[in-house]
């Protein structure tokens, strides 16, 4: 029994990461009907920004020991900044010029951006992993036989915090409402005085901020940043977004946790070699029986 609780925690940890990344896919899909395949790379770039920030503190100050909360906050902040700047650039350079091109074009452009960013970091790091300084306090909370390390709690907590923040942003702010309006009907939103281009950029910014921040927290958790680290989480998060219903914010969150838990349980039941198979089977099943996902909406018929 303890093991199942432990697995549930494992699933929630990873699921939270998937969910935070999935939100970026879903938001951008909402406004552009486009899959930003470079989104996983924003997560990766965030993790690098975080590791370099913490390494900088490590090399030049003693703040990592004296005031880790400050350096960790700074790292997360840098992760957000870097991811956001890159997202704005990629929207401007790689996607906006293709706004009216056939659907495949921005998709291919996105794959290109993804490969580019990955290779820039491979080059820069000489394919080595950058190791996060040990800033987070070691130790764990034990409840019976279940043990949850502080860093894991931190990751779970941060991912929830990020999601709640995003949810409030989308639901309650002017920009969030504009994003939802553009997602539903771009032209009508423009007639309401919404600057659609700007809103699309802000959508990228919101998704990127989330990915960058999550990248830093995840990097601290696994202890390193690597050029290839965004690839698999990116694919998984995309799967989560589709499972939950791409375009749906609550759907992305649900899909993320669903996938994380399914992976954890499958690992125990059948071995880790089957977890991706289970995920793919789920994906195929969802695509066949409910192509709009758990919480997604059927696309409206509209002329």
């Amino acid at each position: 029994m303890e093991q199942w609780i432990q697995l549930t925690i494992d699933g929630i940890t990873l699921g939270g990461v998937y969910a935070c990344i999935a939100l970026g896919y879903t938001l951008v899909y909402g406004v552009l009907r486009m899959i930003n395949f470079a989104h996983g790379e924003l997560f990766m770039m965030g993790a690098f920004a975080g590791v370099y920030t913490l390494q900088g503190f490590q090399d030049h100050t003693s703040l990592n020991e004296d005031l880790p909360s400050l350096t960790i906050t700074a790292a997360i902040f840098m992760g957000i900044v870097v991811a956001v700047v890159l997202a704005v650039l990629m929207e401007r350079i790689a996607y906006r010029p293709l706004r009216h091109a056939p659907r495949l074009a921005p998709l291919i452009s996105a794959i290109g951006v993804s490969i580019f960013l990955r290779n820039v970091m491979l080059r820069y790091t000489n394919a080595r992993r950058e190791v996060y300084p040990d800033v987070f306090p070691d130790g764990s909370i034990e409840i019976g036989d279940v043990s949850v390390s502080y860093i894991k709690l931190f990751l779970i907590g941060m991912s929830i915090l990020f999601m709640v923040g995003l949810y409030l942003f989308i639901q309650r702010t002017k920009t969030g409402t504009a994003i939802r309006a553009v997602a539903e009907d771009r032209d009508t939103a423009a007639l309401m005085g919404i600057d659609v281009d700007r809103t699309i950029v802000l959508t990228f910014v919101a998704g990127a901020a989330l990915a960058g921040a999550t990248g830093v927290c995840y990097g601290m958790y696994v202890g390193n940043a690597a050029a290839g680290m965004g690839f698999i989480p990116g694919i998984k998060a995309f799967t989560a977004a589709v499972l939950g219903g791409i375009g749906s914010v609550p759907g992305a969150m649900l899909g993320g946790y669903f996938l994380g838990l399914s992976e954890a349980y499958t690992t125990k039941l059948f071995g880790a070699q089957y977890k991706d198979v289970v995920a793919f089977v789920l994906l195929v099943a969802v695509l066949i029986f409910r192509p709009w996902g758990f919480l997604g909406k059927r696309e409206d018929r509209r002329a």
Binding site: G165, L168, F169, R172, T173, K174, T175, T177, A178, R180, A181, E184, D185, D187, T188, A189, A190, L191, M192, G193, I194, D195, V196, K297, D300, R302, A303
Partner: protein
Amino acid sequence: MAPILSVRDVSRRFQGLTALNGVSLDVEESSIVGVIGPNGAGKTTLFNLLTGFYKPTSGEIWFRGSRVDGLPLHRIAAAGISRTFQNIRLFSNMTAIENVLVGQHLHLQTNIATAVLGLPATTNAEQHAVEVAVAHLRFAGLGGRENELARNLAYGEQRRLEIARAIALRPKLILLDEPTAGMNPGESDAMIGLIRRLRDELGVTVILIEHQMRVVMGVCEYITVLDHGEVIAMGTPTEVQNDQRVIEAYLGTGHLKSGAAE
């Protein structure tokens, strides 16, 4: 007094088809103007040009002293033109009040950080915005329907929600594309009342496209008649009704004389 809107020799072609051909039209501030004409005459195209959906192939559109053709949609909206649609285009997955809040976009001031953190500054501004939105809904006769999803509203309510959303922009000119389409006479009368109040209470200039002659004759002060993309008549309802070309254009359609709903 200079007209609030001035359409100058505007044409619009789609591939081979000329949807509008050399249309000129002046609209006085605070008037209610009707645009009529048979199906395919180019009425909706005119609205699409006025709101920036399409750019004119030639000609100019002036609004409140500045040229608006060629501006992006949101800039034209900000200049003070808003509209409703022949085929209703609400944000159907949002609630009624959210639709109106989107319409208020240009007049909202919220700061991302304070909103996410729920700080008082935002809460006040937000509360104010909500109050204004509720007032707009009441104006359109949708009091009490605030939290209903737009797609769950009745057809007539959806039409009125489009108007509530349109006035949330605080426009100077509002374009109504067949606001009574599909309504029974009772609903149409209520709509006529609402249109009058737009002008009388809010001071908005109104241009409406309408098929029901009862509505057109009852509410419009001036009428422009389009046929095959050209203006064939202009004037007061009575003048237009007796215009020979108008009668010919409508011959056989029955609309003009009988005033029956489509």
